[in-house]
């Protein structure tokens, strides 16, 4: 089993974007891997593009960072020209232009989510080839394979902010449990008319799923644990 430390940084990842009644919730895990080695176990995959638009990054860490940087720059100029905040649709389209026109060189799937005064909360998924799809919710990254059935069952329209965030946290933690390339903490970003809220859920605060073990500090705790009670005869 070789730790290929020269492999490009990849974010195996689970990323999620969900609309609710009044805004959007974006969620992601925090594992960045180089081959089998976890290069960063607490990375922030939810990046800001403008005050009201954020993007979840997956795939190649470098590619997704560069794309986000370009789009942040374009959107900044656009906002100055327009004289008002850019819309989520425009942000998604700029990302799509880069993703599509450079499809041979890039390997990154992105989920753009935000709030603007014309359309409210919107989520746009931009997978590998450079399509752009407006969706009520979007999932991406290697961990998302384990979530398709979950969302089919658990998703509903017009959730409240709390329901939506709980859904996202639950989903990311389920994916972390099954996907080796996802792990670490769960980060969420809630965007609505009032602004942006960032939340952080450390691994030990997440609920345990089937066959997951309680975290243990060390073997010594097991040795020092009290022995079994004698049987009453």
């Amino acid at each position: 089993m070789d730790l290929n430390l020269d492999a490009p940084h990849s974010m195996g990842t689970t990323i999620i974007g969900v609309t609710y009644n009044g805004g959007v919730v974006l969620g992601a895990d925090s594992r960045t891997s180089t081959g089998m080695y976890v290069a960063n176990r607490a990375s922030d995959k939810i990046t800001q593009l403008t005050d009201n638009v954020y993007v979840c990054r997956s795939g190649s860490a470098a590619d997704s960072q560069v794309v986000s940087d370009y789009v942040r720059y374009f959107l900044h100029q656009h906002t100055i020209q327009l004289g008002q905040p850019a819309t989520v649709k425009v942000s998604a389209n700029l990302i799509r232009m880069l993703a599509y026109n450079n499809k041979n060189m890039l390997q990154t799937g992105l989920i753009v989510g935000g709030w603007d005064k014309y359309e409210g909360g919107k989520i746009y998924g931009i997978p590998l080839g450079g399509t752009v799809v407006e969706q009520p919710f979007a999932i991406g990254g290697s961990g998302s394979s384990y979530l398709y059935g979950f969302f089919d069952q658990a998703w509903k329209e017009n959730m409240t902010k709390e329901e939506a965030e709980q859904l996202v946290v639950k989903a990311v933690s389920l994916a972390i449990a099954r996907d080796g390339a996802s792990g670490g903490v769960v980060r969420t970003v809630i965007i609505n008319s009032e602004g942006v809220t960032r939340n952080f859920y450390p691994g030990d605060k997440l609920q345990l799923w089937h066959e997951e073990l309680e975290p243990q500090n060390s073997l010594l705790d097991i040795l020092n644990a009290a022995g079994p009670e004698p049987m009453a005869i």
Binding site: Q81, L82, V90, A92, N93, L94, R96, M97
Partner: protein, 297 residues
């Protein structure tokens, strides 16, 4: 080489040709304007100073001593000599109308359109030199297309008017270009509602409730101010614009004219289109009746 003096001489005595000698050795195209200025100086000494900027009006890159660029003002005069163009913003959309003066009876009615669609949701009515107007409309169409292909959304009307205005302004900055001899009224309906902008040959662009350019613009503006635009629907607006144009058409000076109108409103599904024929006929009849009532008084 003559030393440069700091005094400001009136045009008659200022010898451009002397300063030009200092550039000898540099092979470059002689600016015909500057060359002619050198020739004209002897004639100008005998001419009386008129209110037009004699000597300072030969190039768009020359300011007059009182801070005006005369070429741009002359371009605006070209607009003032054309048929009137009126635009109003009603509560549910925009209505634009043009008094299209017919040069010859042989022209096909409906040809030589003065109102053009720039995009699905925006249109432009042109006054002044028609060929210049064609260029501006072509540029506006191209800007609207390119915005949509880059940003994935229809161009906001404010952004479009700023781009067109900066293009018109561009042509007032270089001596090898002349300013556009046309003014444009741009009406559009975007996410922020209906908006009306007017772009002048100087490159200024403002947003208006009601705007008019051309021969009868003063009279038109007075009429527009009488209207209660915030309570008017576009259907009513069409009739009002027709009335205004018929009213300010000067039968004595210009013989025949054709009324061309367009609108963007809820009824046209927020798309720029010609006013439907039946409504246009209704408007024309109403306008003619109103004129007769006025004459009867």
């Amino acid at each position: 080489v003559k030393p440069n003096s700091n005094r400001i001489d009136p045009p008659g005595s200022f010898k451009i040709s002397d300063n030009f000698r200092s550039y000898s050795g540099l092979r470059r195209k002689k600016n015909p304007i500057l060359r002619s200025l050198g020739e004209k100086e002897s004639k100008q000494q005998s001419k009386k100073m008129s209110s037009i900027g004699t000597g300072y009006d030969l190039s768009v890159t020359t300011f007059s001593p009182d801070g005006r660029v005369f070429q741009i003002e002359y371009a605006a005069k070209a607009v003032d000599n054309s048929g009137t163009v009126v635009g109003i913003k009603c509560k549910d959309g925009i209505v634009m109308g043009v008094e299209k003066l017919i040069a010859s009876k042989m022209m096909l009615p409906g040809s030589n359109r003065r109102i053009h669609s720039v995009h699905r949701h925006a249109g432009m009515a042109v006054a002044g030199l028609a060929a210049d107007g064609r260029q501006i409309v072509a540029r506006a169409k191209s800007e609207a297309r390119s915005y949509e292909s880059v940003y994935g959304d229809a161009v906001p009307v404010k952004e479009l008017s700023e781009r067109v205005a900066s293009y018109v302004h561009l042509c007032t900055l270089y001596w090898w270009l002349r300013p556009f001899g046309c003014g444009v009224i741009l009406g559009g309906y975007d996410k922020d509602g209906p908006q009306l902008y007017m772009i002048e040959p100087s490159g200024i662009s403002y947003r208006y409730f009601g705007a008019a350019i051309g021969k009868g613009k003063q009279a038109a503006k007075t009429e527009i101010e009488k209207l209660k635009l915030s309570e008017m629907t576009c259907k009513e607006g069409v009739i009002e614009v027709a009335k205004i144009i018929y009213k300010l058409h000067d039968e004595a000076k210009d013989k025949a004219f054709e009324l061309e109108m367009s609108w963007i409103c809820e009824e046209s599904k927020r798309e720029h289109q010609k006013v439907p024929d039946d409504l246009l006929e209704e408007a024309k009849t109403a306008a003619k009746t109103a004129l007769e009532e006025m004459d009867a008084d």
